[in-house]
Symmetry: C4
Subunit: 181 residues, 4 copies
């Protein structure tokens, strides 16, 4: 009754738009065509790369998860909307982080956004695996606990050193991709 | 002759873009990285959440409705375009509502936008059910009458207390999802 | 070799985005929540409705045309890109028209944009019908000649009365939908 | 396990959005409706056409390449994300180029962006052909070497004559399309 293909295509369209809206922040000044204008947006560019990698990783996870799912329940659709909602906030929090990488509030907000997205992915995976009896994914729980511990640690470090998220996603990337197989 | 898949995919693309354009309003100031900047956009954020839930609900309804439909007529395509047109106004009316939640004109405009979207959904459902002989959906008419009464009541309450729409969508959400099954 | 489905899906995504980008122009002022702010954007709103109907019509035409096509040639792909390119200019020309409906240059530019889109649709239809031997579409040529005559007349009238395009699309809508069957 | 269709649809959605975001730069002034306003944005318009043709060409290449592919590996997905990332920078670099076509830094940056996109396409093609044993594509290597030589020459010429990229993409277009068959 619920078509998996339409559900996946809709999710992909939203993720594709979020991914591309990010780049709207990378505005180069129309009245300054020097190399300094480029250097000035480097922090924004770094924040953009990070979030791009992060969303790409999450899309790959989503792709793997649902390629094994047979049925989509109403509960999964709404958890997926929560997942999309949290993802849709990333362009705003990324832009705020990039506009001053040494500010604490924006750095903490960005990390909270990423952590919430991780939690939503975790919830989505639980629901899909339990509804589809995917036993081979149950042994991920240990990896997930490590991932959550890393997330909390990141929050603490970011409090004392705000630019920390810019070094952080690369680790997250490997940890999350790894946990998909 | 008319392909349901292409029709659905196009509708989904438009809805996905509307959903994501909403977030473009959530701009955090580049020169203020304090907690106050966050508090300042809370009304916009509340308006964003509401419209996000509302559009998500409507997409789920659309999904359910057309999963049961076999044929798409020319009339259904054009009613669907009216439906998409009204939906496409939501980012603008949501942004206006969010910029001052105590203003009456913007609150009324927002509620009118939502009511029109409800009416268009109702019209679309009538056309699809009658063309596809979906009898099991006919018993929705009582629920729809209640929903419309709630809508009109909301209009009246919003006139006297403009921030009312911010408390209102949650009810709408349940009423609309419920009416799909 | 060339997959019609991927070609159609890509075209639909571009058209869906163009349709939705249009609405970004409909910005209501954050510091004026009176009914006057609404009245002020009425010309923009009228221009938006027109272009929305126009693009919707063209999408329906595209849908019908390719639902009958079996093969996609390289030539059709590139004519389709020209078609998409001209469509992609509509948000900019619509916004310019809407910002002052009594200005001549912007009204003429808008009509030229619409005429070019019509011509591209005509070219696309010719190529698809000739490559797929769709004879039942050949009797459209007379209707197309009338449509082109109307277009040229519109250009002349717009020169003397710039707001004319705002009354004009409704006719165009019927003429174009009619010519698809 | 990895579905080619979902992978292609996601790529198409991102490319479609990038293609359409480009046009957001083509803003006509709301307070000047003369022919001079049109002439003023001609350099931006030229830059827009160029990048539109370039991205369209790359999409056609992508379409042809993956229409012959049977399997998608994890490596291909990530190379494709690099490809999409470089493409997502084109709206920003195109806008910078268009805002002053005689500035050297922005012209060089644009050419670097295009060259990186070409390199990513080349890498993607290598991976897809080697994983799918597509021998008939191996004889492209000579054409690719010529294409790269042209790219490097363009970089040198742009250094001395910044508006050069505006004459250049047309050649690139033919060279790249030709190399797909």
């Amino acid at each position: 009754m619920l078509k998996k293909e339409r559900f996946e295509a809709f999710t992909d369209a939203v993720i594709a738009i979020i991914l591309t809206i990010l780049v709207l922040e990378l505005k180069l000044p129309g009245n300054d065509h020097s190399i300094h204008a480029l250097i000035k947006i480097l922090p924004k560019f770094a924040a953009y790369i990070m979030t791009f990698i992060f969303i790409a990783t999450m899309w790959v996870n989503h792709h793997f998860l649902f390629s094994q799912a047979k049925g989509i329940t109403n509960q999964i659709i709404w958890t997926n909307f929560v997942w999309l909602f949290i993802a849709s906030l990333l362009p705003a929090t990324t832009a705020w982080l990039g506009s001053d990488i040494f500010a604490r509030t924006s750095a903490i907000l960005y990390v909270i956004n990423v952590v919430l997205f991780n939690l939503a992915t975790l919830l989505l995976r639980r629901q899909v695996t339990s509804k589809n009896n995917l036993n081979n994914m149950q042994n991920l729980s240990r990896k997930e606990h490590i991932s959550m511990a890393v997330n909390l640690l990141t929050l603490v470090v970011t409090w004392f050193f705000p630019p920390f998220p810019l070094c952080w996603t690369h680790y997250q990337h490997h940890s999350l991709v790894a946990s998909s197989y």
